[in-house]
Symmetry: D2
Subunit: 405 residues, 4 copies
């Protein structure tokens, strides 16, 4: 069989042909006098994707994990106290990183399937009269459980407490797919990566930083030792349109195209599409008689659905069947929910028919593994939803065509 | 929206990534001393795809239509009588070509939805004691109506009548997808193109020719004037591994990879996959309460299904909805069945999940246009079929990987 | 060694990255309702490349040879008398084709290294009072000998004789590289292919036809039997933005980008670049103490130089050394000049430094095979020329960037 | 102009078409059950490129700078004393990094144009009886000045002093191009990146680590805080064929092809080719009457030549002319040698004719900026060298073909 496996994991996402094509280029001279004419507008346009008011966006040749580390190392000092919450594999890993980097982490452990405990945060912040807490962390979208959290709510809690702590957001599986209003919500560091909403291969850690965080970094009061991920080296060279070390130029060219596509569709249309596609998936899950890992609608993520399989059935068997029998990759259950959930990623370059294919594969794999469902129930429910809610699609082979559409 | 439209027309088909990648190369010197090391084995391997015993395969930089013309011009003379049948847009066009090229065509006009009238052919051949009929034409797979015809049956009719006429087969939408036993069936010219079972872009007319037809060509008794499509120019240069004019080297490189993929999967596995996928589609059509254009199961094509829409509904409205609302291309109804059928192509690089997506789009487009069906019924019926009949898939990014799988 | 061989043959030419990228796409539906929005402007823009006043351009999935055949079959009838000249492998082959297609060809055999004998043509036309000659043929650029001919001169001869014959031009290795003023020169059929000045892979025969020739075609007085290459089938479908059979969509998308690049550079700048690069090559040949096959400067081609090697030396040994020792393809000597010349193609996507590389390889290969020359003399002479005449280059990764430059 | 700029910087290097093609793929599931079948052999084969005896190779989605940081953070503790030398921009930056990461650096400042002072190192190590020095650093190839240093010599110095310090080598612009015998020379950490000898885009930091260094890391006595670059997270997941965070799968697939190409050519043939090409460049520099920045032949680098321009001439003007007038990128002079040198990178995918083009561009740019040289002298001298020393080239479009050649 010669079909590349169908990919419905919550990142890396599928890449638009226009992006793939834009990266299929020879190497280029990253110190050429023409290079800044490309990079400087790219830096500016990237800010739009974060809806930033001030500050800047750094692009590291790394991954979201690297951008996490950069955010922490450049704005916090060893021994600083921070407020975090843990309710899934990725929020868990960020806590782990902060601890290993020497921060004193106050962790709110929440049930997996829920998200950031805004009210608990509010209490803790209100009580922290001495402002010992230097930063508050929010995992905007917990990829492991399909849970979105309320960033604006945390901002309100900070404001209510008149607390100066930095607001650190993991937007890896949200930026470019879910609305991220960095300026309006007063986010100080927003971490993202190339392989999710930006619809690119893995390889870029993208970190948006507010002016407040940049100022703190500049004061250099005991920030952590760092070099590769340092803001100051980046700023010095980025200001001229260059980088402190060799940048991943193919990915940067792809990012240019990706931003063009996002802007051509319109960010708000992109977000609406994600909501629409996620709603179709949730209609299917409901029709199958299954439940999401996310406990309540307010936690539902529009970029990934973690689906609980019935007791006595191993979700790993389902993903294996999907992979080997139906040539389709779904996300595994990780850590506490290993064997209990499988995940359908529905972010990035995606449309209704792709979702239809994903659900088609999923219901066969579920049925094959003993889940009692009616084949066609999930695809039918999603079709019902899309038939009512689909919008006119524009077909695009190139960004230029996308713009015209 | 940045998703390239989903393609379910009966050719051009979807291209495997490995094939697409193989063609993404610089130009090369088609007279280099190394070139024959590539072309000579390619010519040989191509014969396997036709299951030929003797003869040779020509590759013209053209299309299936060009290969039709080459077959006729090189083996028949102006004024020759030939036996053809007409029961769809492509069998019709081949008749039209033969008439324009000056042949005397005895046409059997059959109902659209049926195929080559083997018994009628047998009668005519039996009566043609003087062997005025120089060639008998068979459209193996009529792409417009989704009808397959019985090539072996026509061979039997020829043999029964001890008739020396050439057996000319249009295999454009069959070779590489349906079983074509050129040697066993005594086919003299089998016409194909790159963009169907060979899973390549359009641009190659591929023509397999038996030794008998080559001998007739060589005798040159009043064959038609020709140059671009002439066998003799091809033979002279092909024998050295070259071409009489500049060949489409990118497509040739892609063809190499395509053959590697077909052989790695195994031709018989490829045919079985087409039957399986077609069966899933037919299960869906049945579940929708619709009928195929093909009148009886014996005519059912495993590479394309032409689906009759209910009276009073315009099939063009359905294809437009599919295209503009669901980003999906289906085949239009052509000529006599325009407005009455839409076609799902299910040949080339394709698997169960892609079929699921196609049916998902089709049933929404049908429903949106007033067809009374239950959403999920078609995808459910296909899932039912595939869940019972799917085989272990192998995931492949490269031919090498495909081979290993 | 992993370097793709350097290509300096007179077509296929090197492909711009932007063109290569534009073709690295999935298949598309050539009957989609959006397709004409792409093709109709393409047809129009293509006319600019020929500087046509009226008429139209046909795009056949074939090669230049196919377009030759189309031009002849659609405008001339079997038995028609035509005037041609023969002075190289490609003018020779066109004569051969016309004879095989049944035309009565009056051939002027000229010395290889010279071109179309304008004065002889003028005499013959003046004497043809009954206008028995239906068409006059000109090979604008004879690729085998590196000779350009005077199309405008032939037009003047026709006008002087008030002769209504069609003016048929082989522009395969000229259009897009040398100035072709189809309208001003009253050319009726101008044949081209994708793999030369259009900087694309082989696979398109591009045929520009004047309104006069279209009118003659329409009158249908005994035109030749034809189908694949017929104007009428093309016109009927092209007018709607479609094609009579499946078009080579990847190449069409590439052609769009190629035209964008040519127009972005400016056609006259493109021609000037070809003259500049050719002048550099000729300076090198002179420095080596060698001669061109072209007898006089008036015959010098700006797209290919056929270089005579000294007596006693086999030019095939030189091309083999270049290929196997220096990873570089040059054009072979063909037919009468086999073993006597090797050819440097300098058309299409090419700049000074690439020419430098070609000359570097050539002088090593010449020296290795016993030609008495000073290494560095050719590259030095070309450098001298370019250092004086080079223009500011613009670096381009995409057509968009090329436009901006 | 539509030609992508010619690239002769000392990395990123030119990418083989086979590598470019191998990366032109859709995203894949980095947690699929088939993924380890790809990664585990890749890890093993990578060790061959370093000629390691034991230990392992880490692949970080970062750059060489990131791999520098990983080497330091995982094997040394804040406050550790290390021995380094500084004689060019990259050795300087590594010193800077070590200081910023809190090491006590004993720096030998050497003249730019020389390399690691092996005898001075020997003295210092001999005197360090208490083994306060925890690591000795060697920049194998200083990219800024075109200087190679004697790694084996430093090993001898360590052995002579019976000194247990780690031997840390920057092999960014050497591994895959110059001989690196990690096992034989007892190198403990060898840093490399994807965009030099591995002929890939930037984006991978490749770090080879000896068992000794791994053991030290495991003991965890005060190693630096780290997470993204930590060995332990990598080891835990790599052992299963996975990664601790999303890997850059396109680059990994490209790396597979790159290794295939290197092994097909044979590592020792690759090194010999670099020496041959470098010798050609040096012959040209000599013919121009110019000097290398490297003071003596023993320092000459086979991957990059930094060429001193005559007094009174600005080397930046030369690189600008090369870029804007001749579409060619050379390396700039950096830091102390800014304006004084320009650099020709001659590593990675490169052959004689490409070098010819580079020299052709360089001598025009030099001449245009007032350097008194004879055009053709440099290309002539290189041609002289190559004509005597070139080997049979094999032409390759795919790794498979490369292997067969």
């Amino acid at each position: 069989m010669t079909v590349t496996p169908h990919l419905f994991i919550p990142g890396p996402t599928n890449i638009p042909d226009a992006v793939r094509m834009a990266m299929n280029i020879p190497m280029e001279d990253m110190r050429s006098p023409e290079f800044p004419k490309f990079t400087l507008p790219l830096f500016e346009d990237l800010k739009k994707a974060f809806k930033m008011k001030d500050g800047r966006v750094f692009i590291f040749p790394s991954s979201g994990t690297g951008a996490w580390e950069s955010a922490v190392e450049n704005t916090l000092a060893t021994g600083d106290k921070v407020l975090m919450s843990r309710f899934g594999q990725f929020s868990l890993l960020w806590v782990d990183m902060c601890e290993r980097l020497g921060l004193k982490v106050e962790v709110c452990d929440e049930e997996w399937g829920t998200g950031v405990p805004v009210e608990k945060y509010a209490d803790i912040l209100a009580k922290d009269k001495n402002h010992e807490i230097k930063a508050v962390f929010v995992t905007h979208n917990e990829t492991a459980t399909g849970v979105s959290s309320d960033v604006a709510g945390v901002r309100k809690a900070l404001d209510a407490a008149k607390h100066p702590a930095l607001l650190m957001v993991d937007g890896v599986s949200s930026v470019g797919s879910l609305d991220m209003r960095m300026g309006e919500w007063g986010v100080d560091c927003c971490v993202s990566g190339s392989q999710k909403g930006f619809m690119l291969p893995t390889g870029l850690g993208i970190l948006a930083v507010s002016q407040k965080a940049l100022d703190i970094n500049k004061s250099k009061n005991g920030r952590m030792n760092r070099c590769f991920f340092s803001f100051e080296d980046m700023i010095k060279t980025n200001d001229q349109g260059f980088f402190p070390y060799t940048p991943a130029t193919q990915l940067l060219r792809g990012l240019r195209t990706s931003l063009d596509l996002l802007f051509a569709e319109g960010l708000d249309n992109v977000f609406a599409r994600h909501t629409r596609l996620a709603s179709g998936v949730r209609a299917a899950v409901d029709a199958w008689g299954l439940k999401l890992c996310a406990k309540e609608p307010k936690w539902y993520s529009d970029t990934v659905s973690a689906i609980l399989v019935p007791e006595g059935i191993d979700s790993n068997a389902i993903t294996k069947t999907a992979y080997y029998r139906y040539n389709t990759s779904f996300g595994l259950g990780l850590n506490k929910v290993a064997g209990k959930v499988f995940r359908i990623g529905h972010l990035g370059m995606l449309d209704e028919v792709m979702i239809g294919g994903a659900l088609f594969a999923a219901e066969m794999a579920l049925k094959d593994n003993g889940v009692n469902l009616k084949l066609g129930s999930g695809t039918g429910a999603a079709a019902e939803y899309f038939s009512k809610n689909a919008t006119k699609s524009a077909t695009a082979l190139t960004p230029k065509q996308a713009k015209a559409a």
